[in-house]
């Protein structure tokens, strides 16, 4: 058998996992690893400018492909800088393997230089973590890390490697295990047949059914099955922020996103439904609004791969634990074989009601109350120019909600955003991670002048590796989402929500060697944006001035029911 050092084993194991790119930043405790990387060509390393960006790049790769992304950082500050990215992936159940250096074993616990207890710090935000204590365990630990990250409810796994585990002169026989068995980890691979049968019985007897798709459908690669079920049953469907694209944005069954900034029709339909089939959504607080007033007439079927997500906030009438794809497959065969069908009359009047709601609000916004461009117009233009086919990697704030509301995704896995943690700074590195792996696709980073500055340094990484993403910066000169809450709840006392002294983003982009564009009139928008997307091999930073006073609507009234919404600054349901 071949003899490899610990460092070489790490790199070889990554290769054996089929990893093409890893994202990282070197430092003392990972120098042996970087030396091993230098001496091979199978695994390519991308040098970021801040470790947070490395984790977001790996995370976005995983969101787009379903496979675990990999980041590599040094101990101490390298590891702590990675924490935000690890937490971001954890909250959205994204598979990721993060390799962190650690001080030498004999120094652990002595407050050595750049020592932090990474196992302790990361514990609440990882699916699992490992510390390597014997170099010969490295292949098995890496295999386990990928196995845990990618199966069941996915999530990030940290592998902490003390420097002496990677010493070049200590060599061990290397064999990569194909499979690992863990007696304490057996993810569920199918749903309970009896429960699924019961669920379909209930579903098919509904008069006002709604399907709710969550991130589990996207991560679980179950969009096709979902679409088939919808087409077969003609049931109105809504989705969470994490499931945009599971059903095509322009499909007539699609009511759009639900929840705090969900569409009027989606929230109304939820409120009045008699049966809700939830597949892979965890009923979090941004979706349910006040749980005591949640969907008062609905019976709830909840499919989730994680039993702990079921009946955590909303009690399920029929719980089904299992992977979305397999469960949906079984549901499909039941529906196809069943003599029972949804009552056509009831479904017809349910749709009439929904179309009436759709007509009443249906995503309108005003364009006549300001000289300035509306942020919604920018997203609609992006949608038009890219045909709903782009990867849209978003930051966090109002712009994120506009993107979610107005970009009509044709495909799943193309809406890349930090939904659960809401991490500002996610957008640019995420777009980079996607673009590197899908060089021919249109990749847009929708951001705000606040968020973009949280990882702006990555423009430098983009020049080094030629990553021609398009940055669509909705510049409202304020931390818009914060300002909106201050407008609504604090009598417009805009405490610290202005972004005074903004840089000249055009010059900034240019100084990194990219193209900068400033757009402040709607009339110029289409031309500029088309030009930007036509420059296939250039990063273009579009600094787009939008109305700073615009609010995101609908917006649910706090602790109300699903149907309690502000529809504009002056109208309430």
């Amino acid at each position: 058998m071949e003899l490899l050092s610990g460092a070489e084993m790490v790199v070889r194991a990554l290769k054996d996992e089929g990893v093409e790119y890893i994202y990282g930043y070197p430092g003392g405790s990972v120098l042996h690893l970087y030396d091993a990387l230098f001496q091979q060509e199978d695994v390519q390393h991308v040098l970021v400018r801040h470790e947070q960006a490395a984790t977001h790049m790996a995370d976005a790769y995983a969101r787009a492909t379903g496979k675990a992304g990999v980041a590599l950082v040094t101990s101490g500050p390298g590891a702590t800088n990675a924490i935000t990215g690890i937490a971001t992936a954890y909250t959205d159940s994204i598979p990721m393997v993060v390799i962190t250096g650690q001080v030498m074993s004999h120094l652990i616990g002595e407050d050595a230089f750049q020592e932090t207890d990474m196992l302790g710090i990361s514990r609440p935000v990882v699916k699992h973590n490992f510390s390597v204590q014997r170099a010969e365990d490295i292949p098995t630990i890496i295999r386990k890390a990928f196995h845990i990250a990618q199966t069941g409810r996915p999530g990030p796994v940290v592998v902490d490697i003390p420097k002496d585990m990677t010493t070049p002169t200590d060599r061990f026989p290397y064999e990569y295990p194909k499979n690992v068995k863990m007696r304490s980890y057996n993810p569920i691979n199918r749903g309970h047949a009896g429960q699924i049968k019961k669920a379909m019985d209930l579903f098919l007897s509904a008069k006002r059914p709604v399907i709710l798709a969550g991130g589990g459908v996207v991560i679980g690669q179950a969009s096709e099955e979902l679409r088939e079920l919808i087409n077969l049953t003609n049931v109105p469907t809504t989705n969470t922020l994490m499931a945009l694209g599971a059903l095509a944005g322009r499909d007539r069954h699609n009511l759009g996103m639900l929840g705090m900034h969900g569409s009027y029709e989606a929230n109304m339909a939820m409120h009045h439904a008699d049966v809700i089939l939830n597949i892979g959504a965890r009923f979090d607080d941004r979706v349910t609004n006040g749980t005591d007033k949640f969907c008062p007439t609905a019976k709830i079927i909840h499919v989730d791969i994680d039993p702990a997500s079921i009946s955590k906030t909303i009690r399920a009438d029929i719980p089904i634990v299992g992977p979305a794809k397999i469960v949906l497959d079984e549901m499909l065969s039941i529906v196809k074989a069943s003599t029972k069908q949804l009552d056509a009359e009831s479904l017809k009047s349910w749709w009439e009601q929904i179309e009436e709601w759709r007509g009443r609000h249906g995503g309108r916004y005003r364009t006549d109350d300001s000289e300035l461009m509306k942020p919604q117009q920018v997203i609609e233009m992006l949608d038009t120019i890219t045909n709903g086919d782009a990867y849209v990697c978003s930051d966090v704030g109002q712009h994120q909600m506009y993107a979610a509301q107005y970009y009509k995704f044709n495909h799943p896995n193309r809406w890349i955003n930090s939904g659960g943690l809401g991490t500002m700074g996610f957008g640019l590195p995420a777009a980079m991670g996607v673009k590197m792996n899908f060089p021919d696709a249109d990749v847009a980073c929708v951001t705000g002048e606040g968020s973009i500055q949280m990882n702006i340094q990555e423009l430098s990484t983009c020049s080094q590796y030629d990553i021609p993403v398009k940055i669509i910066c909705l510049n409202n000169q304020s931390l818009g989402m914060v300002r909106q809450w201050q407008d609504m709840n604090y009598e417009s006392r805009h405490s610290q929500s202005y972004m005074k002294s903004l840089p000249d983003f055009v010059k900034l982009a240019e100084s990194y060697g990219h193209v900068g564009m400033k757009v402040d009139k709607y009339a110029d928008l289409e031309g500029a944006m088309r030009e930007a997307f036509a420059m296939k091999d250039r990063l273009v930073f579009m600094d787009i001035a939008v109305d700073p006073f615009e609010h995101v609507y609908p917006m649910q009234v706090p602790r109300g029911s699903m149907r309690d919404m502000w529809l504009s600054k002056t109208e309430r349901t």
Partner: protein, 164 residues
């Protein structure tokens, strides 16, 4: 309601901190916690007593099950079970009347005096937590110098076993 939850845990470094961390992270309450190796050296057995309504306890068992190092979880209170806790209690016993009184009370509760000095008695007692509470209550006349309790351990009655 009070629940006694038994957990079989991989005997790995850091495994215990995952369990304890979970409880604080999710705001679950811990009344007592015991942990020790089992006859199988790769496994530890951990017992937590907690107070919560059904929804909370359901979450506790589900979340525990999700931890990779957790092999099995059982809520002992769901079935017939036996619960035991060990207590050692040091009391001031510096005159005949007090000493006689302590001895009598300890006898009633089937406690044993396991150490004595001129001025103190140390009583050992095994039983359910409520029995230990009752003993402390019964001693209200005496002055207590120190109490140490092991936390609850539990086992199912009958033929049911918690093992691999």
């Amino acid at each position: 309601m009070r629940h006694i939850i038994s957990v079989l845990l991989e005997n790995e470094p850091g495994a215990l901190s995952r369990v304890v961390g979970l409880f604080s992270q999710r705001n679950f309450n811990i009344e007592s916690l015991t942990v020790a190796p089992t006859d199988d050296e790769t496994l530890s057995r951990l017992t937590v007593t907690t107070i919560g309504d059904d929804r909370v306890v359901e979450q506790i068992t589900k979340q525990l099950n999700k931890l990779i190092d957790v092999v099995k979880v059982v809520d002992l209170t769901e079935g017939e079970h036996i619960e035991r806790e060990l207590m050692m209690i040091k009391l001031k016993a510096n005159n005949g009347t007090v000493r006689a009184e302590i001895k009598r009370t300890a006898d009633i509760f089937r406690g044993q005096i396991i150490d004595a000095t001129q001025n103190t008695f140390t009583v050992q007692m095994v039983g359910s937590s409520s029995k230990l509470d009752a003993f402390i209550e019964a001693l209200s006349g005496a002055s207590i110098l120190e109490v140490v309790r092991s936390g609850v351990s539990g086992i199912a009655r009958g033929e049911k076993v918690l093992s691999l």
